[in-house]
């Protein structure tokens, strides 16, 4: 066999085509075809895709399954919601309350002054920093505690799930400070700009798509760096990596924090796009549902995560509108099918079935394909 050229460039031509197609779908096809209400709905789906991309890096590439990504999505979303809520709770807007100038749910719960930890969220700059920093610090603490002690696999999954449960109970229980089970609702303006109009939502959709591409490119860079290959190596032979002189825990902490940061951006965008944040996006059920987005897309495929998210959520909306009782059957079957029959998800179906046929029609790009499929997990 002739020595093969080893290419690990940041983006092969095949990747580039993939990104271009996705960009065309998000920035041209959807806005052209969808009425504002639907476009806003797709904007909401896109915010989940941030989480799915992080899960591809953590779980697909790094083998770390977090069942608590809703925690980071929620923390990012709540940080943003706190800012918007304070802006919506100006003394003029809340004149009828017994304590004007504080969020309505605080007033309902007989709280008479803004808690100290709400104060900094009067500042947009602080909020934007907090959207990233709060979830990252939180994931860093979890990561250090777990990975330094070499907790991984199912234990990590269960403990992250427990953390999601704890945070949900806490948010619901402390309704005077958090808005409780309803969450933080009735958000109106961002620095005076009304986010509830169709025009605002359409603009937010594009901002959302732009940020998604920034995150996609960061993920692509990580995936194609030596760190990306190290994650795969750690997933398969953790000890060998350790005895090649790497401090494995640091890499896991890093990728877990990165996944947390992605989820947080998604959460903050969710709050803006949809106009509220509630504990129903934090707990066990949403967190594990986010895993299925990445799984359907193909757990190793960054682009697949976006398609998986869009597809599952579109299906969910369509089913829930026409046959609500069928949706859980469908979702349950999806979990089983994607594990049992399609471990590489849409990306796997694409590269195994669709692409070879396309290649026969257009043989020029064949070399690229061989190089980029070399690091796929075989579907056992």
């Amino acid at each position: 066999m002739h020595p093969m050229p080893i290419k690990h460039s940041f983006m092969t031509r095949r990747d580039l085509v993939g990104y271009a197609i996705l960009a065309a779908i998000i920035f041209i096809v959807f806005p052209a075809l969808l009425e504002p209400f639907r476009l806003n709905l797709f904007g909401k789906y896109l915010t989940y895709a941030f989480v799915a991309i992080g899960l591809v890096l953590c779980w697909g590439v790094g083998g770390i399954l977090s069942l608590g990504q809703g925690v980071f999505f929620g923390l990012g979303g709540y940080c943003m919601a706190m800012f918007l809520k304070l802006e919506a709770s100006s003394p003029e807007n809340t004149a009828i309350q017994s304590t004007p100038g504080i969020p309505d749910f605080m007033d309902w719960n007989q709280i008479t002054a803004l808690p100290w930890w709400w104060e900094p969220f009067n500042s947009l700059a602080f909020t934007l920093v907090a959207v990233i920093v709060v979830p990252v610090v939180f994931s860093f603490i979890i990561g250090v505690a777990m990975f330094r002690r070499r907790v991984g696999g199912v234990y990590f999954a269960i403990i992250t799930q427990a953390i999601a449960a704890i945070l949900t109970i806490l948010i619901i229980g402390q309704q005077g400070f958090t808005g409780g089970v309803n969450g933080i609702t009735d958000l109106r303006t961002l620095n005076g700009w009304d986010i509830r109009t169709d025009e605002a939502k359409t603009l937010l959709y594009f901002v959302n798509g732009g940020l998604l591409f920034v995150v996609l490119l960061i993920a692509q860079f990580v995936r194609k760096s030596k760190l990306g290959r190290l994650l795969i190596a750690m997933r398969d032979q953790e000890d060998r990596v350790r005895f090649s002189g790497y401090d494995v825990a640091n890499f896991k902490i890093f990728i877990f924090c990165l996944g947390g940061a992605f989820a947080a951006i998604g959460g903050a965008m969710f709050t803006l796009q949809v106009g509220f944040m509630s504990p129903s996006f934090v707990g066990i059920v949403p967190s594990i549902e986010m895993v299925i987005y990445a799984a359907v897309g193909g757990r190793l495929s960054i682009l697949g995560a976006v398609y998986g998210t869009l597809l599952v959520n579109y299906a969910k909306t369509s089913f829930s509108e026409s046959f609500p009782e069928l949706w859980l059957f469908g979702l349950g079957a999806l979990f089983i099918a994607v594990v049992m029959a399609f471990p590489n998800g849409l990306a796997g179906l694409w590269s195994e079935h669709v692409e070879p046929r396309l290649m026969r029609l257009w043989p020029g790009a064949a070399n690229d394909t061989a190089a980029s499929t070399a690091e796929k997990t075989p579907a056992e």
Binding site: I6, F221, I232, F243, S244, G245, Y246, D247
Partner: protein, 250 residues
Amino acid sequence: MLDYNNKNFVLMVEDLTVSFDGFKAVNDLSFYVEPNECRVIIGPNGAGKTTVLDLICGRTRATSGSITFKGQNLLKMREDQIVHAGVGRKFQTPSVYEDLSVFANLEISYPKGHGVFGALFFRRDAAVRERITEIAEMVFLTEHLGQKAAFLSHGQKQWLEIGMLLIQDPELLMLDEPVAGMSVAERRKTADLLNRIIADRSVIVIEHDMGFVADIATRVTVLHQGQVLSEGSMEHVQNDPKVVEVYLGH
């Protein structure tokens, strides 16, 4: 016995004990490795051979005793720090990264970019490529650089793992049954390879194949029930009545 006090040892293992719930897998063990020595550890199954390597490379924590490598106390160091100090370890079953190419396998072992950000911004420059090509040639894998490691034969995986250690250029190389599962031809090639690579470093080898041991050993240590039963040249241990009894008497 030799006089150990005047020598400049690379590795000093002294009074080493590890117990698992009361069972002493290694019991008050001491031995010393000189520079450029090839030490072979033999012994019946369960003698504690692999455990000794696990202890040296930090995979298992000792209950008591000390392990000193070039004046550093290895017992206080993390696995990756021990590697950076210059200790390389090959596992009994070949452990290579099956989903990565042979090239990437070697690249990961290349001793640069070991921090998170170092790895993130690692550049594959000419020096890296050159070194990987050089090592691949040594371990007979030049033709397979672009191939996924999963598609290598068992023997080739063993070589790849040896290559992954060589690229780190360790001062102490520890090999756990490097020829297990190899064909006769592969064994000969491996013995050849080992004889070349042990020239300028210290090596500890665990091996069962006596012919192979005789080929490479400077000195042999026989372990039995976690203790040194006999130590010396191949000839010396083969004629030691205690060794004969352990191997044949049971």
